[in-house]
Amino acid sequence: MTCNKTETLLYAYTKKFLPPVSQKEILAHLALCPSCTSKYKALIRLNGLFASSLQAPSKKVLHNIRIASGDKPFSLFRPAYALSFSAALFFCIFGATVLFKTVKNNEIKEFLTDTYSSFSYSDTEESSYITEYHLEDIGLSDTI
């Protein structure tokens, strides 16, 4: 095999595209020809460079593709989340206020009941009048 023919087939030889007979002929020529061997070595080096040139893109690329494909990233500032959060906060504050007021009223009521029940009034009407009078005074007459 000549150098010209070997040079033409060298690429196909490294890729093993050639029939076995041609592969053997080139191998025999390479063993005898330093010029073609040098080219063959350069080709092998190039193959190595190509093989090591594979790189993955950054994660940002996949993230942008996901967004473009309609996948929304999780955010607390999306309208639906913001509305739900506001509603939950409102009900929490409202519930806490009502609960606090009820507890306080009950405490005051219990205090007044305890205080007046300790007096030894025989007339229960007067006792209830005094309790109502004092509850009315502090704006809690409706709670009884």
Partner: protein, 158 residues
């Protein structure tokens, strides 16, 4: 994004990106191209007629995007009137050597070589991607590789 689409991305993104990076020699441009390629590919997948394989179809979009970006960049650089030289990404040593060797080829030879060497496409598949004859692809790869071998030999003797 469906799990199938994610799998397709995971399997092919590094090939698309590496091709773009070797041709454009700029990390940002290569990432932009990769992103656009997959967005277009996923959008077009529902209307894909199956005339070619999905892989070939993806790389056809990729080659078109890369060429488009390359053209846009040339316009951008001309507009800047080459006041400042473009900021190419500084690659690692092995990649720098490959980029330096590839810079000696024009896109006509570079693209089929990259598709063959990086992606492992056959001549027939490359012909399908580039819309060329198989013979043309074969001759471009062989001519390009001969130039690369000569350049690699020169680099070694330097």
């Amino acid at each position: 994004m469906t799990p199938e689409a994610e799998n397709l991305y995971k399997a092919h993104s590094k090939y698309v990106y590496s091709n773009a990076l070797r041709l454009l020699r700029n990390k940002q441009d290569a990432e932009d191209v990769t992103q656009n390629v997959f967005i277009k590919f996923f959008a077009a997948l529902s209307s894909f007629r199956g005339d070619s394989s999905v892989r070939t179809y993806l790389y056809r979009i990729a080659v078109n995007e890369i060429m488009d970006m390359s053209r846009k960049r040339k316009v951008r650089e001309n507009k800047m009137e080459q006041v400042a030289s473009p900021e190419y990404t500084k690659p690692q040593t092995g990649k720098m050597e490959l980029d330096s060797l590839l810079s000696k080829l024009d896109d006509e030879h570079k693209i089929p070589i990259l598709l063959s060497e990086i992606n492992g496409f056959t001549y027939k598949e490359i012909a399908e991607i580039l819309n060329l004859n198989e013979g043309t692809v074969k001759s471009r790869i062989h001519r390009g590789m001969a130039k690369l071998i000569a350049a690699a030999q020169k680099e070694k003797t330097k």
